[in-house]
């Protein structure tokens, strides 16, 4: 029994220590943004890497999620004679949940893994020590450009994902399943408001912070050797994805109080 309690205690303590380290990294990074010069070349490089090169992933995710969601909603609603409500359901769901969460998960996989692997490799090959020895603070050089790039890219990628989801949903419902286009659009517009857009974009920014801090923390704390470097991206993706899913629930409750649905 004592062993069991000790085990739980140890895990709780290490979890708290981990959260503390993430918080310190976040504080240090935001302080860097305001106190150290921004490295614009690195920032633009990261914009290209995380923003532009994530297009395919986001386009495919958004389009096929919207398409399948429209089809499934239609199959259920058709039995009740509510075909034209499909647009509203697809639109609100894409904005409030599916768009931000799926973009977050895809970016945690694509960008989070790359960030932690790159920084982890730099750590074990002494390149981060070399940066420090040359008088360069690694947070300024490695974390801040990634943080700014993802904070700007993520809301845009979420918007792209949602937009393509809605377009694909329209195509499936109206073109393939013969739902009346005018009613589809009318319901969609009347049930979707700026509150849903704000919710999607807020979630995008929050998820970008989770991805950057979890991934950079894993990279900066990578252990020596191939196993250590290999573990960093795996853990970054797992912790990042799970954090997005869990935090999304609480974020939905909070944001729903601020931006109530369908009002």
């Amino acid at each position: 029994m004592t062993l069991f309690i000790r085990l739980i205690g140890q895990n709780v303590l290490s979890f708290c220590a981990y959260l503390g380290q993430l918080l310190l990294l976040a504080v240090d990074s935001f302080r860097s943004i305001f106190t150290a010069p921004i490295r614009w070349r690195l920032f633009l490089g990261q914009m290209l890497e995380v923003g532009f090169r994530s297009q395919l992933v986001v386009v495919v995710t958004g389009a096929f999620t919207g398409a399948v969601f429209a089809a499934q909603t239609y199959f259920q609603f058709h039995r009740l004679g509510m075909d034209s409500a499909v647009g509203a359901v697809v639109s609100v769901s894409m904005f409030r949940e599916l768009g931000p969460v799926l973009t977050g998960l895809m970016m945690a996989g694509r960008v989070g893994a790359a960030m932690s692997a790159e920084i982890g490799t730099m750590k074990v090959t002494e390149q981060i020590d070399a940066l420090r020895a040359l008088g360069v603070y690694p947070i300024d050089y490695l974390v801040v450009p990634r943080l700014l790039a993802l904070m700007i890219s993520m809301p845009l990628l979420v918007a792209e994902c949602v937009g393509l989801g809605i377009l694909a949903g329209y195509f499936v419902a109206v073109v393939l399943l013969d739902v009346q286009g005018a009613y589809y659009l009318d319901y969609m517009i009347s049930f979707t408001g700026s509150r849903d857009i704000k919710m999607a974009l807020t979630k995008g920014v929050v998820f970008s912070l989770i991805i950057v801090f979890v991934s950079c923390h894993q990279g900066l704390n990578a252990k020596e050797g191939a196993v250590g470097v290999g573990r960093a991206p795996t853990e970054a993706v797992v912790i990042g994805s799970l954090s997005i899913l869990v935090i999304n629930f609480f974020l939905s409750l909070i944001l729903n109080a601020i931006f109530p649905a369908g009002v």
Partner: protein
């Protein structure tokens, strides 16, 4: 344990310059192991001090303390009389611009070519004139016998060439001091010898204070003005190469000869 007293005064032929770096009663524990146990050392300005000791004995840990990459559990490190132990990472940047490091793996930035690697510290100190940067990069490469290799990527370089590029990056800002972490480890004897000559040449030509940590005795004797033997977390011996060679202490003798304890028992 038998200890040889550290000479109070250096040989008459080599007057002692004021220390550029002083290490005072340094203690460091890594996990279960106490790596440094009250390490004391002065590094005189303009000289090459070689720290020898067994692998895993704390030599690299010592170097990392000198440049503030590690914080000691106890003790102090003074650079030009200023304590660096309590400085924050940002405050340390100022100190680190006086001291360059050649890492064991050279630690070249693998996303940059040779030229960009060497130009990096110049850009960091605020140099913007591209012609001047190019000129200084070419000069540094010439000094390490790698003229014309600017465009190569680090993965295309041999171990010896990587160390030379690392050295060019270290000297390009003309630092007050260079720390060498195992500069000849993993290199064939010919390349190792050329690196040793390079260290010597740089010290003579630029008058840079150097601290070399190594377990390669040939290299140590080649480059050292003074040698300190790190044993059991402390300075066990400090003196010139001649004094080290003349020592009759069995521990020092075994280390110089590369004889293990087992071999001595077998004898």
């Amino acid at each position: 344990m038998i200890t040889i007293p550290i000479p109070e005064t250096p040989p008459a032929s080599r007057p002692q310059a004021p220390p550029l770096i002083s290490i005072r009663d340094l203690w460091k524990r890594l996990g279960e192991q106490e790596v440094l146990k009250g390490f004391d050392l002065d590094i005189p300005t303009g000289q090459t001090l070689v720290v020898i000791g067994r692998s895993g004995g704390g030599k690299s840990v010592l170097l990392k303390h000198i440049i503030g990459l590690m914080k000691p559990d106890r003790g102090d490190v003074l650079v030009e009389g200023e304590s660096i132990v309590a400085l924050s990472e940002r405050q340390l940047s100022r100190v680190r611009k006086k001291i360059a490091v050649l890492f064991q793996s050279a630690a070249l930035f693998d996303s940059m070519n040779v030229e960009e690697n060497i130009a990096f510290p110049l850009r960091e100190i605020g140099l913007k004139n591209q012609a001047l940067i190019d000129e200084r990069v070419a000069g540094a490469l010439e000094m390490v016998d790698l003229a014309g290799e600017q465009k190569k990527m680090p993965e295309k370089l041999s171990g010896g060439m990587r160390k030379r590029v690392g050295l060019a990056r270290a000297i390009v800002t003309e630092p007050r001091c260079i720390l060498y972490d195992e500069p000849t480890t993993g290199l064939d004897p010919i390349v190792a010898d050329s690196i040793n000559r390079l260290i010597r040449r740089l010290q003579k030509r630029l008058g840079i204070t150097s601290i070399v940590v190594t377990h390669d005795m040939k290299s140590a004797f080649h480059v050292a003005d003074q040698i300190a033997y790190l044993y059991d977390g402390r300075v066990y011996f400090k003196g010139t190469s001649e004094e080290l060679r003349a020592s009759t202490d069995p521990l020092i003798h075994d280390f110089i000869q590369g004889r293990s304890q087992e071999l001595r028992t077998d004898d």
